[in-house]
């Protein structure tokens, strides 16, 4: 039965993609505009950019790797700052009260709004890191706080009765029990960080990167390549998300799986 369901799922997926491409082609035909390429033109552009490279000679894989590298740095910094701060804020309500008035408004400022300030204050790689950090930081922070606060008090009491000190309780009870939430925060954070790549590369100045590719070809009014860049961002985001989901499933076997 499960096998049949799987095959059915795959077939339905293929069907919906086919319909999507068909409608896209139909719209492109009916508009007949040089600025709206159909799927066929985009595939041609995809092959061209992948093999021969863009006007500066960078191929699609090298654009992708550069973007992934930048996001990895920004995301890494976000994890290194948000997780310890989140654990601390989750444990101490005084720290929470102190930081909430600062953190809560900041988290609603979109990354694009930070562009002017980051141009003034930062240079080089730090601009990318900062803009991606801003995007990835808050999901990780909020999930970490929520996970820490949800620690079962009886587990903490249990450790205390064995004479555990507070650092042991944090590292051996609070952190592992918050880990599933932290991981889902990391997954969301990576997704948001990845979506900040276009904003980050708008100000980076380097000719390489998927966001830069989109901006370059938007200025040249070559929309087929713009769409290639968009699709690449979408697919890489999907793969990253799926990667973390797989790790989560492996890591948290102890969580009772709820079957829908």
């Amino acid at each position: 039965m499960e096998r049949i369901d799987q095959v059915k799922g795959i077939l339905l997926g293929v069907l919906s993609l086919t319909v999507f491409f068909f409608i896209w082609q139909l719209i492109a035909w009916s508009l007949n505009s040089p600025f709206l390429p159909g799927p066929y033109e985009v595939i041609k552009a995809f092959v061209r950019i992948s093999t021969m490279g863009d006007i500066d000679g960078y191929t699609l894989p090298s654009h992708s790797l550069t973007s992934i590298y930048r996001v990895a740095l920004g995301f890494g910094f976000a994890g290194l700052t948000a997780i310890p701060l989140g654990v601390f804020m989750g444990l101490k309500s005084s720290v929470r009260s102190l930081s909430t008035p600062i953190i809560e408004p900041i988290r609603f400022i979109p990354p694009i709004a930070w562009i002017p300030l980051s141009i003034i204050l930062l240079s080089g790689l730090w601009r990318y890191i900062f803009l991606i950090w801003i995007g990835a930081f808050f999901p990780i922070l909020l999930n970490t706080i929520a996970g820490v606060k949800r620690t079962s008090p009886v587990l903490v009491d249990m450790a205390k009765t064995f004479g555990a000190d507070s650092s042991t309780i944090t590292s051996r009870i609070v952190f592992p029990s918050a880990l599933p939430e932290i991981m889902s925060g990391l997954r969301v954070g990576l997704g948001v960080g990845w979506m900040c790549i276009v904003a980050a590369e708008m100000i980076g100045g380097d000719p390489e990167g998927l966001g830069r590719l989109i901006i370059k070809y938007a200025n040249l009014l070559q929309i087929d390549v713009v769409i290639v860049g968009m699709i690449a961002i979408g697919i890489i985001g999907l793969v990253l998300n799926y990667g973390i989901l797989t790790v989560e499933k492996r890591l948290f076997k102890w969580r009772v799986e709820v079957k829908a």
Binding site: L155, A159, T161, F162, R172, P176, F252
Partner: protein, 252 residues
């Protein structure tokens, strides 16, 4: 006889906003080493608070709690506490859960083999690599007992440990607990609201009043183990304690 736990006119109140809630009033109790003492009382009377003061999780507002002559401190004493709720670490296997207590108390010796020995003692050999969500409620309690016993505790404190279990599992675990107790001869403080359980297990039964709790009566159960639940003396002990409790409940 050496005194394991001594409570001298212990009182405990909690601040809740402007109100002060008095939970325990003037409890005096002395438990000799190796005794099995059951504490019964109306629900919500402060039994858990009492137990938490005995292991140093809470400090009394009045009076003193002494464990072997000194105020209890989990960093110095070794307690084996078994909670009503599931207190196993869900991300650790049965073996690692039992090892947890040994690691935190910095037990010397081979932690692995000690843990395995106690898992075997509670009848869970072969389940070492299972996670808590893969075993039943009764098995989880056995793991908790193994974890508490493995640290070689000075005192075992149990807070309605079998309350969430079904009747059969409950009775099996009561028998097993008596087996473990007679083998290691530890002091046990066992909190319950179940009179049948108290008479089955306890050498002494301390009956508490309703809140603020104080000692209403102490009953010494002079019956041989294993006790027959249907024997006339067992039933008369039950009735005696039930009568004490009823007096407390009808006064509400």
């Amino acid at each position: 006889m050496v005194t394991a736990i001594e409570l001298n006119s212990v009182g405990k109140s909690f601040e809740s906003g402007k109100e002060t809630i008095e939970v325990i009033r003037d409890i005096a109790l002395s438990v000799e080493e190796g005794r099995f003492v059951c504490v019964v009382g109306p629900s919500g009377c402060g039994k858990t608070t009492l137990l938490r003061m005995m292991c140093g999780l809470l400090q009394p507002t009045k009076g003193t709690v002494l464990v072997k002559g000194k105020p209890p401190d989990p960093k110095k004493n070794r307690f084996g506490v078994i909670f009503q709720e599931d207190s196993l670490l869900p991300w650790k296997t049965v073996l690692d859960n039992v090892k947890f207590g040994l690691e935190v108390t910095r037990n010397k010796g081979n932690i692995n083999s000690i843990a395995r020995e106690f898992i075997t003692m509670v009848g869970l050999r072969g389940f070492e690599d299972y996670y808590p969500h893969q075993i039943s409620g009764g098995m989880k309690k056995r793991v908790a007992i193994a974890r508490a016993m493995a640290v070689d505790p000075e005192i075992i404190l149990m807070d309605e440990p079998f309350a969430d279990l079904d009747a059969q599992t409950r009775q099996i675990l009561q028998k097993e607990l008596l087996g473990v107790w007679s083998r290691f001869n530890k002091t046990v403080i066992f909190i319950t609201h179940n009179v049948d359980e108290a008479v089955f297990l306890g050498q002494d039964i301390v009956v508490l009043t309703k809140r603020p709790a104080s000692v209403k009566a102490t009953v010494n159960v002079e019956l041989e183990y294993p006790r027959a639940r249907l024997s006339p003396p067992f039933i008369s002990y039950r009735e005696k304690i039930l009568k004490y409790l009823q007096e407390e409940i009808t006064e509400l």
